[in-house]
Symmetry: C2
DNA sequence: ATACTATATTCATAATCTTGAATATAGGTG
DNA sequence: CACCTATATTCAAGATTATGAATATAGTAT
């Protein structure tokens, strides 16, 4: 496969608002699906679909802990790309870490960190 | 428009092999369309279409000099993105500058620089 | 086993992107 | 003005992506 093809495939994997939002969540470390669901206010199946795209692109991987699956970014350079894009599009650099946008996520990890919760995020609209 | 939307639109503009190839050509400064045509071995109308996409994304701009239109990248950060993507996809960093892949470009600029020509590039296949 | 929870997969349709073909236009030249 | 050259635009069909809905599965707990 052509080098530009390889690169465009990679870019295509992240050229999607929901996937960008997911990656942004993973910026602060692994998170379970239920957490993304609660934070992004998107249906579970939908998030799972997008996670599969990221996984196929070998950008993320998951780890099971009991009932929950924790996803994490395995190619940290992707954050460099996101930061550059952010600056390119004139979006203020790193927004405040959004560990948890609400308290609806019941996973153990969230329950613990819930105490330090402060910020909330705008919902993303599916597609444009 | 949502921030992630803005970012994904930007990414979509560059998630295309022909456009990546064009940007790569523009890495070394402005170039006329005829030059890209000769270098990439793609039809003029096609290249023009892709240039319009890049232009709409405000990634490039053009300057006329006589009969020729010279395009240049106006957001250099895009090269940072390309470099990072290159490393992400395991493609050896900057390839040799490909000023001119062949001698078929008749524009004044090419005629002058033609003397230092050495490298050639693999053709890109439209789409995947 | 049964039931429950968290997450994945399949399917169908709509929306968007890709690309070739034909054609138009703008600037330059005689 | 007539004609050439370089580049842009329009159109249409095919390919790919996005996404909702329904459903499946894997791990846990009883």
């Amino acid at each position: 496969m052509d080098v530009y093809e390889t690169q465009s495939n990679f870019l295509k994997a992240i050229s999607h608002s929901a996937r960008l939002a997911i990656l942004d969540i993973l910026r602060d470390g692994e998170q379970c699906v239920c957490h993304m669901e609660a934070t992004l206010n998107l249906r579970q199946a939908y998030i799972s679909q997008q996670l599969m795209v990221l996984k196929q692109a070998e950008l993320v991987d998951s780890r099971r802990d009991g009932l929950n699956l924790y996803y994490r970014v395995i190619k940290p350079e992707v954050f460099t790309v996101l930061e550059t894009i952010r600056s390119l599009t004139g979006i203020p650099s790193k927004p405040p870490k959004h560990k948890h946008a609400n308290t609806d996520c019941p996973c153990p990890k969230c329950s613990i960190e819930i105490t330090t919760l402060t910020t909330s995020f705008a919902l993303i609209q599916p597609n444009k």
